[in-house]
């Protein structure tokens, strides 16, 4: 890469150079992230298939189902036992070939991997979507909005309120409110589902004003507004649970962060110049700290994708987490792998956006040595 000190910097060329570096950087990251997803998904396939043991289980299952079918069918009643066994074997063989169970696991695992990577998620073995489709794609697609709705709402709420409150608190450092937040920060050691249990206890059983679980009333209301209100009502407790478990630690860490940055020399300088406090906050505290703020926002999104199972389970929320848990219970390998592939892609996408934003927000990434 050209060292800018050797050439006088022309504004247009500087932008071009920035873009070129950004493009190189992004391509590298995309390749690296894609390889990461491939390895991660392959590991998941290995675990989900128990290193091929799931297939043995399935074979046994096929044998017993076929035998059962043949025995229950009156057409085959007058067969001799030998003939019947041959028929059973033949049918088992057909089924095994249909599911490609006769190939060695290692080959099939690469086959799975290839399909999973191209999001060709296949058909579920046991489960079906609420509309009756057996496509893994449909099953996941049906649940994804619920998860995004719940966790998106909660996390956006937590993120923006904590940054806002922290900014206010960092100015009133040492005030009773500030101390209260420090004192309450350790309560975040408990995860959201823990608070969820208490909230359910208080607001659904002791004072039954809110529903204990689910996403919408049964039966679902007909009109759009009533439906929306019902969903909103069901969201209150889970969102509150997440809020309670994360808000104090979040405020605490942002407060510390802003305090450290608001004691920097250039901030003191701005204050000494007599700039209004709002301007100091926006230009001198928030702008230089934007990169870490965005990082933590996206890291929070990453946490959002992976921490969903238990809270959804406690609140009976029909999202991706509950789906994954049910799929594992049914030993439905395609759905499990589909769920994890979606998780992995969402995570990779988040990491990628993080990289780009970092490059845009932090000038050092652009002008730093390659």
């Amino acid at each position: 890469m050209a060292v800018s000190a050797e050439h006088p910097v022309v504004p247009g060329r500087g932008l071009l150079r920035d873009l070129r570096r950004l493009a190189v950087f992004m391509t590298k990251r995309i390749v690296a992230l894609f390889l990461t997803v491939v390895v991660g998904v392959y590991l998941t396939i290995l675990v989900a298939n128990m290193g091929g043991k799931v297939d043995e289980l399935r074979r046994i299952q096929i044998e017993s189902t076929v035998a059962e079918e043949v025995r229950a069918n009156p057409d085959f009643n007058d067969m001799s036992s030998q003939e019947r066994n041959e028929l059973i074997n033949e049918r088992v063989q057909l089924e095994v070939e249909r599911l490609n169970l006769d190939e060695p696991f290692i080959w099939r695992s690469f086959d799975y991997l290839n399909q999973a990577i191209w999001l060709n998620l296949g058909r579920a073995e046991q489960m079906s979507s609420d509309r009756g489709s057996r496509d893994v794609y449909d099953i996941i697609g049906e649940r994804l909005p619920a998860t995004i709705l719940l966790f998106g709402t909660a996390n956006l709420l937590i993120f923006f309120s904590s940054v806002f409150i922290a900014l206010r608190l960092s100015r009133r450092y040492g005030s009773p409110a500030d101390r209260a937040v420090i004192g309450l920060a350790p309560t975040s050691a408990a995860p959201a589902w823990f608070y969820g249990i208490f909230l359910i206890l208080f607001f659904a059983f002791i004072a039954p004003i809110l529903p204990a679980g689910g996403m919408v009333d049964v039966p679902p209301p007909q009109s759009m507004t009533a439906y929306g209100l019902s969903v909103l009502k069901h969201m209150v407790l889970p969102v509150l649970a997440m809020f309670m478990s994360q808000i104090f630690i979040s405020i605490y860490s942002w407060r510390t962060f802003f305090l450290i940055h608001s004691s920097e020399d250039y901030v003191e300088m701005a204050r000494a110049k007599g700039l209004p406090e709002g301007r100091v906050e926006r230009r001198y505290i928030l702008r230089p700290t934007l990169a870490p703020i965005v990082t933590s926002f996206l890291l929070m999104l990453i946490g959002l994708w992976s921490g969903a199972i238990i809270l959804e389970q406690v609140f009976n929320w029909p999202g991706l987490g509950t789906l994954l848990f049910q799929a594992i219970g049914h030993r439905d390998t395609p759905v499990i792998i589909g769920g994890v592939v979606i998780f992995a892609y969402l995570l990779a996408l988040t990491v990628f956006i993080l990289d780009i934003l970092y490059a845009i927000l932090d000038p050092r990434v652009r002008v730093g040595p390659e």
Binding site: T36, T44, M50, P186, A189, F194, I200, W305, V314, I328
Partner: protein, 445 residues
């Protein structure tokens, strides 16, 4: 070492640190007490349930909670015949025995169940008994005849014929003031009750023992669950298990992560690159779904779970943080000095690089413990807890399965939740205070 003692001295100025340390001390003492008084094998054996709990009531709340709220709910008690009241009349080839089981009943509220435990000792012919119930207001209610072969439990509460005659559950009807009132309006009658056991023994030296168990609505410090098991056992044993799991998982993940990060920083080149790539792969793998997968497909043994947690935690995002801390240390003059006197690579990594970042990591370490304690509880809540171990998460899972909140058994959820909360708070409070003491950047604020 001076830095550490100084840090500890400073720590004393934080009330939250002291409170946290006291909470941890309490939990550690509780674990020690539990491990010493209830041996592991005994705890596992008892938690499996069965006959040892047959004299406990089902789903009874803790006694103290009832008494604190001014209640006087019945507790479980056992009535045995007093020796002087037992009369025995011999006849040719046997004896008649009259065995009154007398007790005072003063609690508000009906018992939750009524069982009579009988054991007969005889050679050939089993004894025969007739049971009659005498209420304080002088009524007598026949409870039927039975032949007693060996040890036998007569479940008076499940006598459908009696229930039909009384028009209410037997343990309600037998203790009610107004036998004719509607079932919902019956009130408990205080006074002296008697269950008369009249037995005919067909052998001269045959013996009969009877014990009446009047099951209460409250039981012990912690109450009982749907299998009559005392929750106290699981609450007590949950403590050492939770602490051990949290501590082992934290040590396992932080120490390995730190060492690997240090090795990567020290050797650079392909070693570092491999470590970085592995970390990125690991960041893409969702921890909880994988744990759930391992739990359902392989085994729910707590040790296997611990192993997987550590395995997935080795290349965690922490490596990136440690790397950032260790990179400047690598170039520090004292490391160069160590190299020039010929220190080995291993020595430099273990003795010079790692100890340098330890103080900054101690607070992290302490705050990480409750995360794993809650992780174990989370897994148990999803039904993936170790099936044989009594843990806090297990209690919560049972409570969830039995819809404890719906049925109003709040103690069942609140007790393990309280212990979890104490653990979380204890470590978090100490960790936050440590953070302020050992992190120089925060100290000035």
């Amino acid at each position: 070492m001076n830095r550490w003692t100084e840090g500890l001295y400073q720590l004393r100025q934080y009330p939250s640190a002291i409170a946290g340390a006291l909470l941890i001390l309490f939990l550690v003492l509780l674990s020690l007490y539990t491990v010493i008084t209830i041996p592991y094998s005994q705890a596992i054996e008892q938690w499996r349930g069965g006959e040892i709990w047959e004299r406990n009531p089902v789903n009874a709340g803790p006694v103290w909670a009832d008494r604190l709220t001014g209640g006087n709910a019945p507790a479980t008690f056992t009535v045995e015949p007093r020796d002087e009241a037992v009369e025995s009349q011999p006849f040719k080839g046997g004896q008649r025995v009259s065995m009154p089981l007398t007790f005072d009943y003063t609690a508000d509220g009906f018992p939750s169940e009524l069982n009579l435990f009988l054991s007969a000792d005889y050679e050939n012919t089993a004894p025969f008994i007739r049971l009659t119930w005498h209420t304080p207001d002088g009524r007598t209610i026949p409870l039927g005849n039975h032949q007693i072969t060996g040890d036998r439990r007569i479940s008076i509460s499940q006598d459908w014929d009696l229930q039909r005659r009384l028009g209410a559950l037997p343990h309600v009807g037998l203790f009610a003031e107004e036998p004719t009132a509607a079932a919902s309006q019956r009130e408990v009658q205080a006074g002296t009750y008697r269950l008369q056991v009249d037995a005919i023994l067909f052998e001269d030296d045959a013996e009969l023992d009877a014990e009446l168990v009047v099951y209460g609505q409250v039981h012990g410090i912690a109450g009982t669950d749907h299998q009559r098991r005392s929750l106290l056992l699981a609450l007590l044993w949950g403590t050492p298990i939770a602490l051990a799991f949290g501590l082992l998982a934290t040590v396992g993940t932080t120490v390995t992560t730190l060492v690997i990060a240090a090795v990567g920083v020290w050797y650079r080149g392909w070693v570092d690159a491999v470590i970085q790539r592995l970390t990125e792969v690991n960041m893409i793998l969702p921890l909880l779904p994988i744990l759930v997968m391992v739990g359902t497909l392989y085994s729910t043994s707590i040790w296997i779970m611990l192993g997987v947690v550590i395995l997935l935690g080795i290349f965690s995002a922490g490596i990136k943080m440690y790397r950032a801390m260790l990179l400047p240390i690598r170039e520090a003059p004292y490391i160069e000095a160590a190299r020039s006197y010929g220190a080995s690579n291993g020595r430099i990594v273990m003795r010079y690089m790692i100890p340098r970042v330890l103080p900054v990591l101690i607070p992290n370490f302490v705050t990480l413990i409750p995360t794993f304690v809650f992780l174990e509880a989370s897994l148990a809540l999803l039904g993936l807890g170790d099936p044989s171990l009594p843990t806090w998460g297990k209690i919560l899972n049972d409570a969830q399965d039995q819809s404890a909140l719906y049925h109003g058994f709040f103690y069942w959820v609140l007790e393990p939740a309280l212990l979890l909360m104490l653990t979380g708070l204890g470590f978090a409070m100490l960790g936050f205070a440590l953070d302020r003491v050992f992190n120089p950047r925060l100290r000035s604020i």
